[in-house]
């Protein structure tokens, strides 16, 4: 840590990891209801479990982005965070709002648009928290050195805040409701969040490969150009069957297909830079996560997204387990891994250590990645069978088809339990006791790099 205020990130990352565990735990519970339908059916019905599972995911990913920003902005801007006090205030507003929200959910206090179930006062509190954050980091960046990483990161974060405002707009006409609901959902995860992801990845690549910043940043702009040029009109692949005009079919086909490109470009970018750099960064686990992130994102968001993107395919697969399969691998690949990458990278310096527990951390990468991939495969098979019986062959009711899918749901639950184990291992490896640690001499032997900073 070169700047004391980078230490703010530690608090954020602890909160991030706690919510990560909660998210996975509720996922395991929800998955269990698929195979034991009477489990918790009266006490905490499926809709509440699912709400907590996904809301926890969203708030922990965002909390991780905030932490990542607090960690990297001082180095990029070459000055301390404007106000550490505001940063901690922002953290606690966020945590209290999330806690109130989750407890409320357990007592059936919620709204009812998917992913936006937070009561309006929670939405307001989260917005206030984000505005404090944006004020704090924008001021820091404006008064310091401006880099492509900070510009793209800030644009992504401001964009996320602006598009979230559509969460407050709930028109009575369901079609209009859905049109703008996607402004939050799609323009986040297939738009501005990709900017945040690419910026954090660019920062990591500069650090772990040692390649010239000019080269990394030029390609950062290329990657995020591909993201927005494809992603904005790619919204068309959600405007197919909700009462929107027919021209979205071909817009969604063309631009939705192009949405694969930014992820493919990220894979090339990351591997090319690591190859070019030719250096051994002492934090091997951070390097693994930084390479794993674009690869898993390419398969989850790119390949699995393309699989049901074309409207002639989507006509049959829309709203089946195929969507669920894509959702799991896409979120894991694009946003979970980038968060775990920056946490793995930053944690040694936040704890004042040289890289530690690397073997365990790398095990958690392989366990998490294979388990989420396996879960995705089982849900894909379930989705294909469902699509075929319910939509292509036809003549079967929804529940008749679901009764045929139990085998896949059992395998998904097994994969979910392995994900939970992987998550616990990851948290233990970064926050737990230090069992193996590189010596200062090990770190110093790596040429041309500051110690984990």
């Amino acid at each position: 840590m070169r700047y004391p205020t980078q230490g703010i990130a530690y608090t954020y990352f602890v909160g991030t990891l706690a919510l990560f565990l909660a998210q996975v735990l509720f996922g395991v519970l929800a998955g269990l209801v698929y195979v034991w339908p009477n489990f918790l059916a009266v006490l905490v019905p499926f809709n509440i479990l699912r709400m907590i599972h996904i809301n926890a995911l969203i708030v922990w990913l965002l909390l991780g982005f905030f932490g990542a920003t607090y960690y990297l902005i001082p180095e990029e801007a070459e000055r301390d965070i404007h106000s550490p006090r505001l940063a901690y205030l922002q953290f606690w507003i966020w945590i209290v709002a999330v806690a109130v929200c989750v407890v409320g959910y357990l007592f059936r206090i919620h709204e009812g648009r998917e992913f936006l179930e937070q009561p309006v006062y929670v939405k307001v509190a989260l917005t206030v928290s984000v505005l404090i954050f944006l004020y704090n980091i924008s001021l820091t960046v404006l008064r310091g050195r401006r880099t492509a990483v900070t510009s793209v990161l800030l644009l992504g974060l401001w964009g996320a805040a602006v598009f979230f405002l559509f969460a407050f707009y709930d028109p009575a006409n369901l079609v209009v409701d859905k049109i703008y609901w996607w402004w939050v959902v799609h323009l986040w995860v297939e738009g501005v969040w990709e900017l945040i992801m690419a910026a954090v990845l660019a920062y990591l690549l500069v650090k772990v490969t040692g390649v010239d910043r000019e080269v990394v940043e030029k390609w950062l702009y290329v990657v995020v150009s591909l993201s927005l040029f494809s992603g904005l009109l790619g919204t068309g692949h959600h405007y197919l069957w909700i009462g929107t005009p027919g021209y979205w079919k071909w817009l969604g086909d063309v631009f939705g297909t192009l949405e694969v490109l930014p992820f493919f470009a990220m894979v090339l970018w990351a591997f090319y830079l690591v190859y070019q750099g030719g250096r051994d960064h002492p934090n091997k686990a951070a390097l693994l996560w930084s390479l794993g992130c674009p690869v898993m994102a390419f398969f989850g968001a790119g390949v699995w997204g393309f699989m049901h993107n074309l409207h002639v395919v989507n006509y049959y697969t829309h709203g089946t387990q195929v969507t669920a399969a894509h959702g799991h691998l896409a979120f894991y690949g694009a946003y979970v891994t980038v968060n775990l990458a920056i946490i793995t990278y930053a944690m040694p310096s936040l704890r004042g250590l040289t890289p530690f527990n690397q073997a365990l951390n790398m095990w958690s990468f392989w366990i998490l990645s294979s388990a989420v991939a396996f879960m995705t495969f089982t849900l894909t098979f379930a989705g294909v069978v469902q699509t075929h019986m319910q939509r292509v062959v036809g003549g079967y009711g929804y529940m008749d088809v679901q009764d045929q899918l139990g085998f896949f749901y059992w395998m998904r639950e097994g994969a979910g339990i392995v994900v939970l184990i992987g998550a616990v291992l990851f948290v233990y490896s970064v926050l737990g006791p230090v069992r193996e640690q590189l010596t200062a001499a090990d770190v110093a032997r790596q040429p041309g790099l500051e110690p984990a900073g």
Partner: protein, 150 residues
């Protein structure tokens, strides 16, 4: 790789292109909004009952089990066309009563079957919810879903 492209040029392409695509997108969305109000949905038929029904739908987080026009939680049947599935096209009164009876008889408690909670809805709320589902079933969805199973 890409020696001809400078960082400044890449940056300008990014900002310029993003503004361009955003404007095109916003324009098409404005048109889609207009299309929704005038063509694909029955804006004039948005009665108070339909509006209250949408609120009942949201207050009980139905979407975190069901899907509506294919969006939702995939744990329970599609409801965008449930009105049609219940024969509402030919017999609206029959469909309305059947839907209300179904909702009120939940949960079944049958071992090994997915359980829908009991939501303690008033008769007015049940009626409003049925109105909302009826209104939704008439949206022009480009022929989706492929069949009545949803």
């Amino acid at each position: 790789m890409g020696e001809g492209l400078t960082k400044a040029a890449a940056r300008n392409i990014f900002y310029g292109g993003s503004i361009f695509f955003f404007l095109v997108f916003a324009g098409l969305v404005a048109h889609s909004h207009y299309y929704a109000l005038t063509s694909s949905s029955d804006e004039a038929g948005l009665t108070d009952s339909v509006k209250r029904g949408k609120a009942v739908w949201e207050r009980n987080a139905c979407i975190d089990c069901h899907t509506i026009l294919g969006e939702g939680a995939y744990f329970a049947p599609e409801l965008g066309n449930v009105w049609v599935r219940y024969g509402g096209k030919d017999d609206p009164e029959g469909a309305r009563e059947a839907l209300k009876a179904w909702i009120q008889s939940m949960p079944t408690g049958i071992e090994g079957r997915r359980q829908m909670p009991h939501f303690n809805l008033t008769d007015q709320e049940l009626d409003d919810l049925a109105s909302f589902l009826e209104w939704t079933s008439k949206i022009n969805t480009q022929g989706w879903p492929p069949n009545q199973a949803g």
